[in-house]
């Protein structure tokens, strides 16, 4: 400590007045701050539907470009309100026409003619025409743009995409493809005004952007010229928060009306507090444990089947997902229109697993499972699996790495946690066929690929039976443990009315009837 001699004190002590002044000023500042803090936030009174405030995860790298690569859920959420595709799946998973009204193929399914909806306008007031569709498809199809949905439309011959008239587009393919209309019901394949993307993309959706700050907030206003069911909401604010806990805090302190991403634990803790309710979307969203079939011993189907017999699916549902899930059976879901494949539910069977491992010469198997813990339940799934496997003497370490590191070794991890939000058909195209980037298991099954080709050339009526045979192959030889279909939970303030659960796990794409009472 420093010391100095006492200074002279003329009359009144010099330190007295400033100290008092400071004390008074501090008290005033604190009181003012507290009073300001106690003031209720100003309610929105702006029309019949009000403004819906949605908390989303921070995405500092986002843009308004719906064709950007590697889009986070925040970007996808906004895109689903601003842009539309040619077709669409409703909240029950049923196919619907959107910007297209019909698609007809030639005889050998190598050329499709798309009829567009008349009377559709972009949010800038201009008319939506065939030229916009041609420009959008050509942009999407250009490999240089590295768009996320490229794998879905690789069969399109970009040179043979042309406008026939104002509302008709002809699309040539490089190979026969039957489920053409289903492919377009994807958030990564929207239509934008010709020449507007990527810098200032203009869509036809029910909302338009009024302000946008990357990583912080976007404000959307109702598109009054929207062709479809006009939203009751006047505006939507998407506010970005650093963590899921911050989203929950924002909901609890009435800063937002909806927390768009919540772990099962957070969602459960929020329900019932301060008028908060839970929207529970039961769908076909899966978290899986993938095995790289090019790394020994995971190329051996006996080892993969043994590991599938080790997991306790009920424990996964209750412990990893808080009960908000249902057991799955080592294959993806089909479509809501198709019955489930006729295969028995796989249960935990330690003895059989041990026998299979012994047959494969892998009784002392040890490995680590890598996850970036990006989505709720990923780490927990790995931990439950590790505990289950120990019962058969299989040592499984859980290796949690940052998302960047996880991504940088994508396709190289021997065992990893992955997820799927896509319906079956696009999922097969992007992830289960050989040499696809998303096929990190490098699984190659000639019979499965043959059936996929058959599916792509099949009529609607034939699809269910082909899909079920494909599920059978996944069940018997697939590269993944698919232990559960996970529900998507959406905590929201009870003042919000009209939300509907969505089997695709995107309930915030369906805001037509939503209102916010204040």
């Amino acid at each position: 400590m420093f010391r100095r001699p006492p200074r002279s004190v003329p009359g009144m002590p010099a330190g007295r007045l400033p100290l008092r002044t400071l004390a008074v000023a501090t008290g005033f500042a604190l009181t003012a701050a507290t009073i300001a803090g106690c003031a209720p936030s100003e309610p929105a009174r702006d029309g019949r539907g009000g403004t819906l405030r949605i908390a989303a995860a921070t995405d500092a790298g986002e843009t308004l470009n719906p064709y950007a690569s590697n889009q986070t859920p925040t970007q996808q959420l906004r895109s689903s309100l601003l842009y539309e595709g040619l077709t669409h799946l409703d909240a029950t998973g049923k196919f619907e026409w959107r910007l297209a009204t019909a698609m007809t193929p030639n005889k050998d399914l190598t050329e499709w003619t798309i009829k567009l909806r008349p009377g559709v306008t972009f949010t800038d007031g201009s008319a939506f025409t065939a030229a916009d569709v041609v420009a959008s498809i050509k942009y999407l199809r250009d490999p240089e743009h590295a768009v996320q949905g490229l794998a879905l439309i690789e069969m399109i011959d970009a040179a043979r995409v042309e406008a026939v008239d104002e509302l008709t587009v002809r699309v040539g393919l490089t190979r026969p493809f039957g489920p053409f209309k289903d492919i377009w019901a994807n958030v990564f394949l929207p239509m934008t005004k010709a020449g507007s993307a990527p810098a200032k993309p203009i869509g036809t959706g029910p909302f338009a952007v009024t302000s946008f700050a990357a990583g912080r907030q976007s404000k959307l206003a109702r598109h009054d010229g929207y062709w479809g069911a006009k939203p009751k909401l006047k505006a939507v604010d998407i506010v970005e928060y650093q963590s899921q806990q911050a989203q929950a805090n924002a909901l609890l302190s009435d800063e937002v009306d909806i927390a768009s991403s919540a772990t099962p634990a957070i969602a459960k803790s929020l329900a019932g507090k301060n008028g908060i309710e839970l929207l529970d979307s039961k769908g076909d969203f899966t978290l899986r444990i993938g095995f790289n079939t090019t790394v020994a011993p995971f190329g051996d189907v006996r080892v993969r089947q043994a590991l599938r017999l080790l997991i306790d699916r009920r424990q996964v549902v209750s412990n990893a997902f808080g009960g908000y899930a249902r057991p799955a059976n080592d294959h993806e879901a089909g479509t809501p229109q198709c019955p489930a494949p006729n295969v028995p539910q796989r249960e935990q069977d330690i003895d059989r697993a041990k026998r299979l491992l012994a047959e494969a010469g892998q009784s002392d198997l040890a490995f680590s499972v890598a996850t970036d813990g990006l989505l709720p339940g990923m780490k927990e799934l790995a931990q439950v699996f590790s505990e289950n496997a120990a019962k058969a003497g299989v040592k499984v370490d859980v290796n949690v790495v940052p998302p960047q590191q996880f991504l940088s070794k994508w396709g190289k991890w021997p065992v990893y946690i992955d997820f799927n939000t896509l319906p079956y058909l696009p999922y097969v195209i992007t992830s289960l066929l050989p040499d696809r980037v998303a096929n990190a298991a490098h699984w190659k099954n000639p019979e499965f690929s043959r059936l996929a080709d058959e599916l792509f050339a099949a009529s609607d009526e034939e699809q269910c039976s082909i899909m079920n045979r494909m599920h059978g192959i996944e069940y018997a030889e697939g590269p993944m443990i698919t232990p559960a279909f996970v529900n998507v939970l959406l905590p929201y303030n009870g003042r919000v009315r009209g939300l509907v659960p969505d089997v695709s796990g995107r309930p915030l794409s369906f805001l037509s009837n939503v209102t916010v009472g204040r």
Binding site: M1, F2, R3, R4, P6, V9, P13, A14, G15, L19, L22, A23, A25, T26, A29, L30, A33, T34, A36, G37, C38, S41, T58, A60, G61, T63, S69, N70, P143, E144, A146, Q148, L150, A151, S211, A213, A214, G215, R216, Q217, Y241, Q242, S243, A246, N249, A250, L252, S253, E255, N274, V401, P402, P403, Q404, L407, S408, W410, T430, V437, A438
Partner: protein, 332 residues
Amino acid sequence: MTRLATRTRVLKHGSPSGRGSVFPWLVRRLLFGVLVLFLVSVLVFFLTQALPGDVARIILGKDATAEQVALLRRQLGLDRPLVTQYWDWLTGVLTGRMGTSLQNGEPVADLVGPRILNSFTLGFVSMVLIVPLAVVLGVFSAHKRDSALDKTFVAVSSLFTALPAFVVGMLLIAFFATSVLGVLPGVSNIPPGDMPWWHPAKLVLPVASLTLLGVMYLGRLVRASFLDAMDSEYVQTAVLKGLSDRRILFGHALPNAVAASLPAAGLVAAITITGVVVVEEVYSYPGLGTAVVSAVNAHDLPVMQICILILATTYYLFNLLADVFAVMTRSR
């Protein structure tokens, strides 16, 4: 206390010997600061290269092919030699071109500018509260030495000094925002384009977190200085001369104790900067701290470099200020 003691030892060797040499000393320290910042920028640059993951792959995601990743690497200039990349960045910054964010292509200045203001406001308001509150509490506690109040202050301040900033933040959120009282916002997102002081309610909890931590740390230093002053010979002499308690307290002991604590206040300001980073993350406050976290996650080097340089510069300047206070105290 440890930091202050360390600072005192350093000053014995590195400080000017007399008043006349203060200016050259200050210039030397400022030049040294420039060297430190240069080294910080080199370190950040090469650490970023060592981080796992490739920025092009992070931007494009797992669905992109190797060719697409390679193409983006070329477009972003990431295929050039590291020294060339660093030199381009450095000359750019020195000539006022801070470049664009690798993540979304927006100019770094547009991204970082408003956040500097937000973080500065948070730190400034906190410091304005920390210094007087620490003095009042420290002096009061020392004056009532060994009383229940004094013991409570020492115990509570030990607790808060030991608690990490994010724990304090979360406790305040639970108490004032979400679980108990529910009178304040539990998050502090300032809408883009707004000044932070337009939303005083949202500043209360982040400022309170930083203030609590700062006051508890600085208050203890003030208390110790004040106890030293009260035990000193000059105060004893004043007592023997029959001066009143008030006059001894406010006229003699307090000014000395406060002067002795000023260098510590400079250090607390520096520590507050690191606290700002943590507190911003807890409250989702759009400042430099949250920008750094996002930039590190995405390996967004231009944004990361600027944010870290601003934080490091501020940290260095406050350390220097602490030294200047210490020198002034000694020279008097």
